[in-house]
């Protein structure tokens, strides 16, 4: 069975280690915060100028001056700090964020990422995505690899304008967990009940199967 969106988030959360400073994108990545393994401390960064994001507020805690980068109301935790956008991106660009977990529209076998625009269709902008992929120590993509219309998102080369070149280190999807290596995509873990042939059929890029292929624990 392919993983659900929550299961993708839960698997991504197991990549977090004690003491990590983490930036989460919108969509599946936001859900990663719900699955942080017990017994470790991780601190979430928000690029609008906050380290130490807490859960959503109760009605009584609601504060318009306290939002995350997705413009959602949030809370602070013990040890939270605030800073300006320039400081926030110095932190990101300077390599101080241990991992960024982002969504994607397309990822290529050499780690190019496209997630900011569809020419002629939507004018939204890249926000902080280009800075995050160029600055975080590790970039992990968490996404569904086959779109609702059946189109594939793990490609030989990105067709959409890219957000960053050779910036993705790993990918977690409904079908498996991949490393981006100098030889291309390597499938390291596979969803329970899914065959490597089925995974390959859902990728445009050629995948290699790790000799230590494991089944994702769900």
């Amino acid at each position: 069975m392919p993983l659900t969106r929550s299961q993708i988030a839960a698997r991504a959360a197991r990549e977090l280690k004690d003491g990590y400073y983490v930036n989460l994108g919108i969509g599946i990545p936001t859900m990663v915060a719900n699955y942080v393994p017990k017994g470790i401390d991780v601190i979430f960064q928000s690029e609008n100028g906050m380290l130490g994001i807490g859960p959503y507020p109760t009605e009584a805690e609601l504060d318009p001056d306290l939002i995350n980068a997705g413009k959602e109301t949030v809370t602070e935790i013990k040890g939270t700090s605030y800073f300006s956008s320039a400081d926030s991106f110095a932190m990101i660009r300077g390599g101080h964020i241990d991992i960024a977990i982002l969504g994607a529209m397309e990822v290529s076998e050499n780690g190019d990422l496209a997630n900011w625009t569809i020419p002629g269709k939507v004018v939204k902008g890249m926000g902080g995505a280009m800075d995050l992929v160029s600055g975080a120590k590790r970039v992990l993509v968490a996404m569904e690899q086959v779109a609702k219309d059946g189109s594939k998102k793990l490609l030989k080369e990105c067709r959409l304008p890219i957000t960053g070149k050779k910036c993705v280190n790993g990918i977690i999807t409904e079908l498996g967990l991949y490393d981006i290596t100098p030889q291309g995509l390597v499938l390291r873990e596979i969803a329970p009940g899914v065959t490597p042939e089925e995974v390959q059929a859902a990728c445009e890029a050629k995948i290699r199967i790790s000799p230590e292929l494991r089944t994702i624990a769900v």
């Binding site: 928000s46 690029e47 609008n48 100028g49 906050m50 859960p55 959503y56 507020p57 109760t58 009605e59 009584a60 609601l62 504060d63 318009p64 001056d65 306290l66 939002i67 995350n68 980068a69 997705g70 413009k71 959602e72 109301t73 949030v74 602070e76 605030y82 800073f83 300006s84 956008s85 320039a86 926030s88 991106f89 110095a90 990101i92 660009r93 939507v122 004018v123 939204k124 902008g125 890249m126 926000g127 902080g128 995505a129 280009m130 800075d131 160029s134 600055g135 304008p161 890219i162 957000t163 960053g164 070149k165």
Partner: protein, 231 residues
């Protein structure tokens, strides 16, 4: 020295058509609401507005967009404003999209007297087109120029009559560097206090950067995405 003005209208009285304006705020958080309303009332046109976002259809900077006062927008993300998309696709509005960190640093460079900077952000993407690029310490970097403005409009939580400013939580965002890079920085504050009342170690923007300051009023503090947990 007297930087205190009586109202937002007075603060923008010398603003002319074609002005370049920095506006602090991230989405609808930390918006200089009184100053946006005053600029709307004054009716100045052909403005270039630099801000991370452009408000929503009818809130924040969206107010100036709706009244067609904006000629050009420099921003990083404008996904929350349908009217923006309509004006852009119809060719009524010029748009320059910058990566968020590049936008922040260009403004910082403008205020710090720098001639620009090399950054890895955007190397090898559309953003790099037409820009000088160089390999530094083994990484491809692109050159970005500084940004300056005629006016910066910001909202702070507290400010004293000399213009020292303190922000609150994530309402700070782009405002501190915007204050440093404009010819005339105008701060509206939720609490205007006497000189000496702010803790010197807690000042986010030193007074030298602020030209005009006033006590703001009637804050709406709109919430864009009201996300709650059940208690």
């Amino acid at each position: 020295m007297n930087k205190v003005v009586g109202s937002a209208d007075e603060a923008v009285a010398d603003m002319k058509d074609g002005a370049v304006i920095f506006s602090g705020g991230f989405g609808l958080c930390g918006n200089p609401e009184n100053l946006i309303t005053a600029i709307h009332k004054k009716g100045v046109k052909n403005l270039t507005v630099v801000s991370n976002n452009c408000g929503t259809n009818d809130k924040g900077l969206g107010i100036l967009l709706q009244s067609k006062q904006v000629k050009k927008m420099i921003a990083s993300y404008v996904g929350e404003n349908k009217e923006f998309e309509r004006q852009y696709l119809a060719g009524e509005l010029e748009v320059e999209l910058n990566p968020q960190g590049t936008l922040a640093e260009r403004i910082r460079a403008g205020g710090a007297g720098l001639g620009g900077f090399f950054t890895p952000t955007g190397a090898g993407t559309q953003i790099a087109e037409g820009k000088e690029s160089r390999v530094i310490n083994g990484r491809e970097m692109i050159f970005e120029t500084p940004l300056k403005a005629d006016y910066a409009i910001v909202r702070a939580w507290k400010g004293d009559k000399w213009g020292n400013l303190v922000f609150r939580k994530t309402a700070r965002n782009f405002s501190p560097m915007m204050c440093t890079a404009a010819r005339i920085t105008i701060a509206e504050v939720e609490h205007l206090v006497e000189v000496g009342e702010l803790e010197p170690d807690s000042v986010h923007v030193p007074s030298v950067y602020v030209k005009r300051i006033f006590q703001g009023s009637n804050y709406q503090k709109w919430i864009e995405k009201r996300t709650l947990r059940t208690a």
